[in-house]
Amino acid sequence: MNIMRISTPLNKDIISGLRAGDKVLISGIIYTARDAAHMRLQELIINNKELPFNLEGEIIYYVGPTPAPPGKIIGSAGPTTSTRMDGIAPLLLEKGLLGMIGKGNRDATVVEAIKKCGGIYFAAIGGAGALISKSIIESEVIAFPELGTEAVRKLKIIDLPVIVAIDNRGVNLYETGPSSYINREKF
């Protein structure tokens, strides 16, 4: 298993060097958005309004963290299920987004958009929210504060651990990974 270190913003060169199954440590700036924020972003794009941040080369992390206890930057901050964002993700990729962090497989339209736009999909470990929070060194709500945990946050991260789940060629670890372990003949 390869372990790579990358910094944001992403570009085609960085992404081309990553393959499904690689372990990656990401540093730099990423933005959070989950269900409600995605609906807001979609609405802004449809109405030709300005987005709260420039999507070009950026990574969106699908997360709704727990509130920061006193003296802490953020609470538990693991990934949420990505497939709920599948309807909107291709639009964001078309607008310049290059990376997504979440958990679970994506539908065919997202895989196609990843290939077409040269993007990448990373998986963070679902349920490891406490561990992941240690990589977050700054957190600031930059849009939709009324959405609470679902607001858009700008996060500064150091060595956030992820796994390349779908690379820019469309190779999908959710398909290739389990294939060698499937044994249904027995039943």
Binding site: N105, L131, G177
Partner: protein, 280 residues
């Protein structure tokens, strides 16, 4: 006759909400340790080790294991000879949940109207089921149920002729579809029998059993073992990236049903499997 006071219930529910979200069930740790040994892929091993490391971090930093701190499901067994003083039992549970989620810095994940989706900002209401039983004991089983796994759960009305093979097929189909979405390794609750709603409730109850405990009926205990093995042959593995550990436990609960029916429900829980028993 036994008296239980409203404020006592609020306090204990509050404490348990915080506790179960921060500290991993000891039995779960044993199952995860065992899974690390059994896996042969490096990635699967590393993911499982990270989950064990995650619970250490949660404990040290006093932050929740997972950012989805769940919606609270409460199963209440109220002894007929218990009197609740100072207010209603439902209010006490909800007040305890609200305080726990506020004071424990847990995420409030409940929206009022499911269509208009405004957060209630208190993580209430809890979903409360009541059973009135004989005796002087009040038992509350609290579960903080995450929805990554809840969303992948399913109910099906089988034909009686589909029998146990039909049940197996449906369980495997549901878990196959869930893939990596529900944060495997998972705990699987299977409810068989009753009615449409009862099967779902049985599946939820199955998730709240002690993880090491098998069904008391030897036939069903054997079926639990067989189904767990079959689930782990699906190859989904930790986080859906392949491996031998798709489920850590599979538990079945049954209830008598109608001659025309064979309801089956599969309720999936993630590896956090947070629940606590409260006894008064």
């Amino acid at each position: 006759m036994k008296r239980v006071f409203y404020d006592e219930i609020v306090k204990v529910v509050m404490e348990k909400c915080i506790e179960m979200n921060i500290y991993m069930d000891e039995k779960l740790k044993i199952l995860l340790d065992k899974a690390v040994e059994e896996e042969d892929s490096n990635l699967a091993k590393e993911i499982l080790k990270d989950l064990l490391l995650n619970q250490e971090v949660a404990k040290e930093e006093l932050i929740p294991l997972c950012q989805d701190t769940g919606m609270i499901i409460a199963f209440v067994e109220l002894g007929q000879s218990v009197i609740i003083e100072g207010g209603s039992l439902s209010d006490a549970i909800n007040e305890g949940v609200e305080k726990g989620y506020q004071d424990g810095h847990l995420r409030k994940s409940v929206v009022g109207c499911p269509l208009r989706r405004k957060n209630t900002n208190s993580n209430t209401p809890a979903i409360i089921y009541y059973d009135v039983v004989e005796g002087e004991t009040l038992k509350i089983i609290l579960a903080a149920k995450g929805f990554g796994s809840e969303n992948m759960s399913s109910v099906k009305m089988l034909k009686p002729s589909e029998g146990v093979e039909g049940v197996k097929e449906f369980v495997l189909e549901t878990i196959q579809k869930a893939g990596g979405n529900c944060c495997p390794p998972i705990i699987v609750g299977v409810g068989i029998g009753g009615s449409f709603d009862k099967a779902a409730l049985l599946a939820k109850k199955a998730l709240l059993r002690d993880l090491m405990e098998r069904n008391k009926d030897p036939y069903l205990a054997e079926l639990e073992g067989e189904l767990l093995e079959a689930v782990n042959q699906l190859g989904i593995g930790p986080q859906g990236f392949g491996g031998k550990t798709t489920a850590l436990a599979l538990q079945i609960e049954t209830y008598p049903t109608h001659i025309a029916g064979l309801p089956v429900a599969v309720n999936i829980n993630c590896h956090a499997s947070r629940h606590k028993d409260i006894l008064f």
